[in-house]
Amino acid sequence: MHFKYPFHIVGNDKIPALDIRITNKDNNVSTNYRTVLDSGAFANVFHSDIAAVLGINLSKIKETQYFSGVRKSKRLIKGKPYIVQLMVVQKGRSHMFDSFVVFSDEVSDTGFALLGRQGFFDQFDEVCFNYKNNKFYLQKD
């Protein structure tokens, strides 16, 4: 299966944004969510408000996932890990998989939800950015 998307153009930048479906497997509540592919992110990082939409009570999750960005800062960002079902859908084709997600309320107000290496990139055989032609591709054999 091959999924092809255009970059979203903002100013003089091209953003590899795509809308993905998230489902809480415990209650089958789903939402679509606008995200950005980020090979620099170790995992998927979603806003904690999305957990609330899905009926996930983050206060009941004991484990905390810490992570950092490129900014020089001693303070780590924290979030709560959870397994959700993600689905990529396009033109009648879909690829669905269980995925590791970190829900965080410390996401920057100027930032995007991120699809990272664990839980997204590792679910496809190829993730290709064709910047010159304004497309990016996901390939699942």
Partner: protein, 58 residues
Amino acid sequence: MEMLIKKFGGKWVALKPDTEKVVASGKSAQRVYKEAQKKGVAIPTLFKVPTKYVPYIG
């Protein structure tokens, strides 16, 4: 996306799937989601619109 940032920066929006059409917006993702469902969009696309676009590294 530029239009969304200009008009809805800092808010949650619910989009009609596969479009840029905003069906609901506000500060609460849950309320925006429910409002979109009331307007007939069963599974809307939620997007926390950045307050402004800042080039991103990571």
